[in-house]
Amino acid sequence: MSGSRFRFSIRAKLLLLSLAVLSIPYVGFQYLREMERYLRDSLESSLVDAARAVAGPLQGRGNLFPVSTEPVDKTVFVHKLEHPMQLDGYTDDWLSYLDWSRHYQETGAHRPDPLSYSFLISRYRQYYYILIQVHDKKLVYQRPDTPGALDNDHVVMVYTDGNGRLQRCYFSPSAPGRARPFRLRTNTDEFGVEYRAADYVTNISGVWQPVEGGYNLEIAVPVSAVGERLGFIVTDVDDPSGRRVAAAIGTAGADTDASPGRILQSSPALVAILDKLVQTSGRRVWVLDNRGQVLAGKGTLSRQVNAGSVNPLYRLILPAIHQRFRDDLSGASRLQGEEISEALSGRAEGRWRRSPDGKAVIVSAAAPVRVDGAVRGAVVVEEATTGIQMQQRQAMATLFNETLLVFGAVTALLLLFATRLSFRLRRLGREADAAIDEHGRVTGLFPVSRAGDEIGDLSRKYADMLERLKQYNEYLEMMAGRLSHELRTPITVVQSSLEHLKAKGSDDSERTYLARAREGIERLNLIVMRLSEATRLEQALQSAEKQEVDMTALLRNCVEGYRGAYPEAEFSLSVPDRALLCFVAPELIVQMLDKLVANAVDFSSGAHPVEIGLREEGQEWELTVTNYGARLPENMEKQLFNSMVSIREKKGHEPHLGLGLYIVRLIGEYHNARISAGNDPRNDTVTFRIRFPSHEG
């Protein structure tokens, strides 16, 4: 009703309350974080255990842990291949090994196109396969007319042969494709002038393939051709005319040309042991010597996790789990870190670290390996927490799913409950509204709820209240009838006594008093009659019969009668020209009109006629009685028609009991008519309207 204030319905309130269910995911999320920490801790301890377990069989086996003095970062570590490589310059068949690449980068000068490359060497049976992926945006090829020239992009392979002699083999192509490697030999011609001659090497083959942002060089070398040491120098030339060397990076640093790094291979004995001990997927095990140099490695960190079960919606909401992340240690030939130095000094230790790209957290644990009481190596076990993240993610998805389900169910229930509640309240409101009609009369149509809750109680209390109100109303309505009945006997006593007194004869003064007493008793009689009129009418209504009556003629007759009955008043009548046939009880209509006209004449200011009108309006016809004069008080328009309500200020010569309009109401109700009274402020008139349904009965 109150339109200005924002209405907050029960339903909306309950729905708002249901939002509290949404706190479940938050609490669950906190719980999952806790769980993740626990899982990580247990993962760490299990990794430490695993490191110890792997270290166990290695203890005391000095032959597996050679003592080396070679600087660790210069060595090249040869990985083991599962299959031979196709020499084509493309990395397709390398994909699962690319993790092992070592990365070399130009340092110092900040050129717009710095040289960098990844280097990977592996072995399949009797061949070393080498992949060098060079980042060099500007490729400069050898001029075709100068075989053996090195003023262009080229790669030098420096190695010792079987006899320990240092050899250099050049890959300096004049075109993409198969690069014919050559050695340079310094000769002296017949004039004693030195010149360099290129001897093509046949047992080493390479393919040079330009790719986006650089080139790949893929090389196959028979294991027998290479001795203990091997290194590569990548030289970059960016200026096709000047042909100046822009940068050269060696795998063993600046010394590469003179002393390439030692070739290291997984010890077959260690690999065999690891193969037996390590079978967990997603776990990587390293065996290190006492300087952190990798002796053997097994397994990869990435593991195939089934992410398909997680709803794609959650993948949008939650940070993605990266099954592929950059692994800082893959292909490493030397490991460093807190846990490793701890292990190498004798204590098993665990460590957490992020992958360089921040996409994963890696847990590693190291345990020492002792030979004759001295630490000769270490076992490092690593695992990425992707698995834990995955579990957490799945738990979270489940939690979200279930929360959503619970939220949906709770919301639906609350909505149902609130709808039902507000429906019941609204129904109660409607019923309460309908229980008392616009005239303030209790209709007795209030259905009592049998519900056992507070709304039921409210309904019952309301019914109780209405019942009492009804009884009081009935008492009021019956009071008139009872009063008139009870008054009649004493009036008769007084009246008959007075008549006797009068008959007895008396002197003049007594006669005056007698006359006054008789006048009083007559008025009393009139009051009693008026009082009982409503009661009589109620009885008359029960036996009234409706018939077809021409209302136009009826009104004309009546107004004629009123002109005779109220000679001091004027009447104007406006009725339709034709007969208006209505199905009514004519005596009652006349009685009602009598009351309305009497009322109008009493209140008329006299200057204007009392207007009586009849109009047909659609399915209804309307009878109006209008008089000029005193207005009705505000807010009394509805109560006017109640029993014993009188708002008259004017003192008439006849007693008024406020029953006239009550009779109007009774008759109106009998005809299913709507009665209203209202002021017209424009011209100081008071109009009573009775709207009858047109086709009644």
């Binding site: 008549e499 007759n557 009685q591």
Partner: protein, 230 residues
């Protein structure tokens, strides 16, 4: 011969006032306060006329009961009902208790005396065979103003005294509209408008009981009633 009137009324003051008034008119009046007392006396000897209050001491409708018993003893005995309630009039009429008239208590003594006198005149007219009936005929209607009886199409319409006077007033001048005040005057009653309406309604019903097609009493709304000749 002095007419004997029995007055059954529980209210002592009214009883005595009425008794005195009736005695002044030369009637021999005996008052009774309750039904058993009145009944005992009636068993001894019947009065010539009985005026009975409907509500008696403890019996709200003791008067009706007494009327029935009295009718059992004498079908011709004139009975006038007195009542404080308008609604009782319908019962008197509806039950066909055979009352000759009924009055509400606020009527004046004159009206009661007029009725008593009229009833005795009616009885006298019936008893003296030789007395000339003063018959007024108007079509199917005949009114005997001596015996105060009305016949319609030669069948007697059992009207009470008040009803007779109303019919008489209307039918004497057919076509002439009589308003309620005139009718009340002619019927020697002074009651509210609504009472005349219900009297007329009852009269119509009584005529309809002998002739279902009866429609001679015309309501002129807002003015009154008239008797239509055809």
């Amino acid at each position: 011969m002095t007419k004997r009137v029995a007055l059954v009324e529980d209210e002592a003051a009214i009883r005595e006032n009425y008794t005195e008034a009736l005695e002044k008119q030369g009637y021999d009046v005996t008052g009774y306060a309750d039904r058993p007392g009145a009944l005992r006396a009636f068993r001894q000897k019947l009065p010539d006329l009985a005026i009975i209050d409907i509500a008696l001491v403890d019996e709200a409708e003791g008067g009706f009961e007494l009327c029935r018993e009295l009718r059992g003893m004498s079908p011709a005995l004139p009975i006038i009902f007195l009542t404080a309630r308008d609604s009782d009039l319908d019962v008197v009429s509806g039950l066909r208790l055979g009352a000759d008239d009924y009055l509400t208590k606020e009527v004046s003594m004159h009206q009661i005396l007029a009725r008593v006198a009229a009833l005795f005149r009616r009885i006298d007219a019936l008893q003296s065979e030789d007395s000339r009936p003063a018959i007024h005929r108007a079509g199917d209607l005949s009114i005997d103003s001596n015996s105060m009886r009305v016949t319609w199409k030669d069948r007697e319409v059992n009207l009470t005294l008040t009803e007779f006077w109303i019919v008489n007033s209307l039918a004497r001048i057919p076509g002439h509209v009589k308003n309620r005040d005139q009718l009340m005057e002619d019927a020697k009653i002074f009651v509210a408008d609504g009472t005349v309406t219900s009297h007329v309604k009852r009269i119509r019903r009584k005529f309809e009981s002998v002739d279902p097609d009866f429609d001679r009493i015309d309501t002129v709304y807002g003015m009154g009633y008239r008797w239509k000749n055809q």
